[in-house]
């Protein structure tokens, strides 16, 4: 099960903080009927995120985290937050449908819900 939710380009959780573009942290939880992907995007608005699935069944979550207006004369006492473009990509596991994908955005958390499909087995009659 753990092997089925790999990230393309060999990006793993270990270089989340050092990647060239922002890599928001992601949790994936599995239930009987669906797979939930939680992407943590504090300070990002709903309009600045896109979620899509390509023909090769790659789920892409990308967008931009904008710093917003900065009035003149603003001094920074502390600068720990990071801004800029972000992107995460995942291969969808076989037992997940690439249709009927639901997404909600609340309190800076994007939740993508993927429906599971029943594995189809066709029995061949032997004549």
């Amino acid at each position: 099960m753990t092997a089925t939710f790999k990230t393309p380009h060999f990006r793993t959780q270990w270089n989340v903080d050092t990647a060239a573009c922002l890599m928001p942290r992601v949790n994936v939880a599995d239930s009987d009927t669906e797979l939930s992907v939680y992407v943590f995007l504090p300070g990002v608005t709903k309009e600045d995120v896109t979620v899509n699935v390509s023909d090769e069944r790659v789920l892409t979550i990308k967008g931009e985290k904008k710093r917003g207006e900065q009035p003149e004369g603003l001094k920074f006492q502390r600068k720990e937050r990071r801004f800029g473009a972000f992107k995460r990509q995942f291969y969808l596991p076989k037992h997940v449908s690439s249709e009927n994908i639901g997404a909600t955005f609340e309190n800076g958390v994007l939740t993508v819900t993927l429906q599971k499909t029943q594995p189809k087995t066709t029995t061949v009659e032997i004549k």
Binding site: N27, A29, D30, S36, L41, E80, R81
Partner: protein
């Protein structure tokens, strides 16, 4: 957490020369607001690249834990190098695990900006609601932001099968000594898109009164 004042004067306590110098520096022109726990770290910040900011943040956090656990007087806070060995182990954890992984705590990232009328704090707390965070200002003007990040409300089945988890969960706390030119009673905050924004109003600093002592 209450013992984290930047400099707690002991009446008529005598400082050694080094400490005295640092205390004067902290109180005079070099006093930087929101620098209390990173006071020692700030020197490091200049040298250390931004990509090591996590390490610097670990210093913040560890100083707070260190002082609060042992109840040491704050003079000790200035002594980086003796404490550095003590911190070594948890720093290593920090480098390996991304954020401060000791005691199940994490350090939320934050920006602090200052303009002519106010100081604004922006704390990244994705997935938390207003009720999960508490912001307090203590009598000795220490602003504390603390709370707990809980796991997402998932079904029992889902909770059992977590495929990938990159997020840190648990309690967090960050504290700052408020500079004198901030009205400690004016703290207001709002929560939007997982970012807690706090506004502190600035006030005119009170000029110290000079009292003449007559010698008879």
């Amino acid at each position: 957490m209450n013992t984290m004042n930047i400099v707690r004067f002991q009446p008529f306590g005598e400082f050694d020369r080094v400490a005295n110098h640092l205390v004067r520096r902290a109180f005079n022109q070099n006093f930087r607001p929101f620098a209390e726990l990173e006071h020692t770290a700030s020197e490091l910040t200049k040298q250390v690249n931004t990509q090591f900011s996590d390490i610097v943040r670990a210093f913040d956090q560890n100083f707070s834990e260190f002082t609060s656990k042992t109840g040491l007087t704050s003079n000790r806070v200035f002594n980086v190098w003796s404490d550095a060995a003590f911190l070594g182990n948890s720093l290593l954890n920090t480098v390996l695990n991304g954020a401060n992984a000791t005691n199940g705590e994490f350090v939320p990232r934050m920006d602090v900006t200052e303009n002519e009328t106010s100081i604004n704090l922006y704390v990244e707390l994705a997935g938390l609601s207003k009720d999960d965070v508490s912001v307090t200002v203590s009598e000795d003007r220490i602003l504390t932001i603390k709370g707990e990040r809980k796991r997402e409300a998932t079904t029992e089945d889902a909770a059992k099968n977590i495929i990938r988890t990159e997020r840190h969960y648990g309690t967090f706390a960050r504290s700052f000594a408020l500079p004198e030119y901030v009205n400690a009673e004016s703290v207001s905050g709002k929560f939007e898109n997982g970012v807690l924004a706090l506004t502190l109003e600035k006030v005119e600093p009170v000029q110290p009164k000079q009292i003449e002592v007559k010698i008879k």
